[in-house]
């Protein structure tokens, strides 16, 4: 493991993956909160024509020009989505799908044009489809780092404004904030995150890196600051583990590995996160159901006792089952463990019977006397 960390390529890859995780984690949070998860999908597919145009302009695999191209076409596709939704009767989903598929098609056409041109250095472009961590050079890291830093600086500077626009755009407008400009800035940030991740994850899967870290982080916290920090952390964890595996095992694409890593984090977060975790919610539901059943059975026994004027009235299990329309034996056994009911026999009958204990009687009376809607 230590030997791995000393490896020059592995270091480069890990640093690139960390940058990817941080930028997409932080910037994706705003997209997810604004219900624009699928815009990331469109922007990342729309990066393909930009990559090709950048390549055609630079004439080589110059990463700066290529990423600039990706940014421009990404922004252009966002503009197309906006135009289609504002100026025609198409809905957002159709506009997103149109921008995604047509710009990807343009990218495919340009890609085949470049490959048909017989350019010697064209080989590198394929790696942008699914990501190829091993293709990252030290020099590329500076550009990725620069983009990440400037995006983070933008988030830091406009933190309050972004927060407000994400959660309550109406209120933000009423305060006189330039909401449209801020929304444009946030959309541009998604494009920036896409650009940083392109080499690692590729155009097709970048969407997962925008959505997944934010969704996972949302599970653990209720504050935007916490969410952004956690998303960056999760993104980095997934990015580094996926990228390192891909760089050490030959022939595995980097993008899918990173996506599977972040998806595992999402799954764990969905199930286990305290508070919002599905496991806890299901436990809570079961506990509540059990408690309710116990209270119902207690009340029934109490009502029967009152009806018969006999505190020690022995109710037959079968009668209780029929009355509740469900088997009550388990509930009675739980109540017995709490010392509230006791099994008794009622000669000459041989069927099992139950009666309230003293404590059970007191508890039932307390429940019965409690004002409507008071649970305790």
């Amino acid at each position: 493991m230590l030997a791995l960390l000393g490896d020059y390529t592995i270091q480069t890859v890990a640093m690139g993956a960390a940058l990817l995780g941080i930028s997409s984690g932080v910037l994706g949070c705003f997209a997810v909160l604004r219900k624009q998860s699928l815009l990331g999908d469109t922007l990342s597919h729309a990066a393909l024509p930009g990559i090709c145009i950048g390549f055609l302009i630079a004439g080589s695999r110059d990463i700066g020009t290529i990423l600039a191209g990706a940014l421009v076409t990404g922004a252009a596709s966002a503009l197309v989505v906006l135009l289609l939704t504002r100026m025609s009767r198409l809905k957002t989903d159709a506009a997103l799908g149109i921008a995604l598929s047509v710009s990807f098609a343009i990218g495919v056409v340009l890609l085949t044009h470049i490959q048909g041109g017989g350019n010697a250095s064209q080989g590198g472009l394929d790696s942008f489809l699914f990501g190829q961590a091993a293709a990252i050079l030290r020099g590329d890291l500076w550009i990725m780092g620069g983009v990440t830093l400037s995006a983070l600086a933008l988030v830091g500077l406009l933190w309050k404004e972004f927060k407000l626009v994400s959660f309550d755009p109406g209120f933000a407008t009423s305060l006189g904030l330039p909401v449209v400009a801020l929304e444009v800035a946030m959309t541009t940030m998604v494009a920036l995150a896409v650009v940083v991740g392109l080499q690692m994850v590729g155009v097709v899967l970048m969407t997962a890196m925008i959505v997944a870290p934010a969704v996972a982080a949302r599970q653990w916290t209720h504050s935007l600051g916490g969410m952004v920090t956690l998303a960056a952390l999760f993104g980095t964890m997934a990015g580094v583990s996926g990228a390192v595996i891909s760089a050490t095992v030959r022939g595995l694409s980097t993008g899918p590995l990173i996506v599977l890593a972040i998806s595992a984090i999402v799954l764990i977060s969905l199930v286990l996160a305290p508070g919002r975790g599905l496991a806890w919610a299901s436990l809570r539901r079961r506990r509540d159901r059990r408690r309710l059943a116990g209270r119902q059975v207690l009340s029934t026994l109490y009502g029967l006792a009152a009806e018969h004027g006999d505190q020690g009235y022995r109710a037959e299990l079968g009668a209780l089952d029929t009355f509740h329309g469900t088997p009550t034996r388990q509930t009675l056994q739980q109540l017995e463990r709490r010392g509230l009911v006791a099994p008794v026999t009622h000669a000459p009958e041989t069927t099992p019977h139950w009666e309230l204990t003293k404590a059970g009687f007191a508890e039932a009376r307390r429940i019965d006397d409690a004002p409507e809607g008071d649970d305790r």
Partner: protein, 376 residues
């Protein structure tokens, strides 16, 4: 004669493209109308998982087993997305963005691992090879027929039958799902049937156009048709017509420019959408702008007519019913006022008497019909 038909390579390619387009836009029409366009993106990505798994398990590279088996993954994607959404932990768009990348990633990694055994490579996954459909032929009734052509013909017929037989049901579940449910039309079952056919179409078209370009065929022609008509069956027909036109024009352009045929066909769907967006007779941008302008002009003429009518023969006539008053009293610019007067003169609503603007009988009638509509 028939043999020559099947040996004509360009015809085979165009026909395959047209069938892909027709089959996709038949189902795509309903996805676009329901606002679920992006599900086609999710489906077309995740069927790769299905294709690889079915191939590894059964060795079926095409045919009904492959299509039905792999199509189940498409339905699975939607099912998992709905399941994730139903936990109320993530929004619908984020749920889409989480599920399909996982299945797609697993599919790509399986491709990486079993690259030597699987009949498709990463490139085909995204781009398809419609230019080579004629290489893979089947002997049918003595003729060498491209395999893709057969599967796409079958899918087109199946989709046509589906739409024809369930036309009424599809219509009501699309436009009023609540009413459909109340009438007992099982909107969910029809929705999943639609998704299954979308997936099956995606699998059948996979070899020809790959995963992402298919999205263009599913979404773009119906969207363009939606901009041109309000009738469902017309929309279906226009969608198919646009698909066919895109295939033919895309093929010739691709041959001339020496680029990807499938890509160019998809780009052409975008071109047709752009044309519909700009020049649509009713919902197009130009028609809409023209309508706005006409409306504004008519309104200005109404204003002038009423202004002149209410001061006609009044004491202030010499102050009010002059060209200058339009600028000072109505707050119009000199240019606008001049243009409106010119319009009024040509339409024979106004006339000049020395300095005074007066209404012609027609103009007076016009003003009266607005102010006192009960007279007529």
């Amino acid at each position: 004669m028939i043999e020559a038909f099947f040996l004509n390579i360009s015809l085979m390619i165009m026909l395959t493209g047209a069938l892909v387009g027709c089959a996709s836009s038949l189902v795509g029409t309903f996805l676009v109308l329901r606002g679920n366009s992006m599900l086609s993106d999710a489906i077309s990505h995740s069927i790769i998982f299905g294709i690889v798994v079915v191939w590894l398990l059964t060795g079926a590279a095409s045919g009904p087993v492959q299509i039905v088996g792999a199509a189940m993954t498409g339905v699975l994607t939607v099912f998992l997305t709905e399941l994730l959404f139903s936990t109320r932990r993530v929004k619908y768009d984020a749920a889409i963005g989480l599920v399909f990348p996982v299945l797609f990633s697993v599919g790509v990694l399986l491709l990486n691992l079993y690259a030597r055994d699987v009949h498709i490579d990463q490139h085909t996954v995204l781009l398809g090879e419609i230019g080579f459909v004629w290489l893979d032929t089947v002997d049918l009734a003595g003729y060498e027929i491209p395999r893709s052509l057969i599967s796409m013909s079958v899918m087109t017929v199946v989709n046509l039958l589906f739409v024809r037989v369930l036309y009424k049901e599809l219509k009501i579940t699309t436009f009023d799902p609540a009413l459909a449910a109340a009438l007992g039309f099982a909107p969910t079952a029809i929705f999943y049937a639609l998704l299954f056919l979308t997936s099956a179409t995606a699998v059948a078209a996979f070899d020809a156009v790959g995963a992402v370009l298919l999205v263009a065929f599913v979404i773009v022609p119906p969207s363009a048709a939606y901009l041109l008509t309000d009738r469902l069956w017309v929309m279906l027909a226009i969608g198919m017509a646009i698909s066919i036109a895109s295939s033919v024009s895309g093929y010739y352009l691709a041959v001339v420019l020496d680029v990807s045929i499938g890509g160019m066909m998809a780009v052409m769907t975008g071109v047709f959408l752009g044309l519909a967006f700009l020049f649509g007779p009713r919902y197009g941008v130009i028609a809409r702008l023209h309508r706005q302008r006409t409306e504004r002009e008519a309104n200005a003429l109404r204003t002038v007519a009423i202004h002149l009518y209410s001061h006609e023969d009044g004491t202030q006539q010499h102050e009010e019913n002059v060209a200058r008053a339009l600028e000072t009293h109505l707050g119009w610019t000199a240019r606008h006022a001049r243009a409106v007067i010119a319009q009024g003169l040509t339409r024979n609503l106004l006339a000049r008497q020395d300095n005074l603007l007066v209404l012609t009988p027609k103009g007076r009638e016009h003003a009266r019909s607005i102010l006192e509509p009960w007279r007529n």
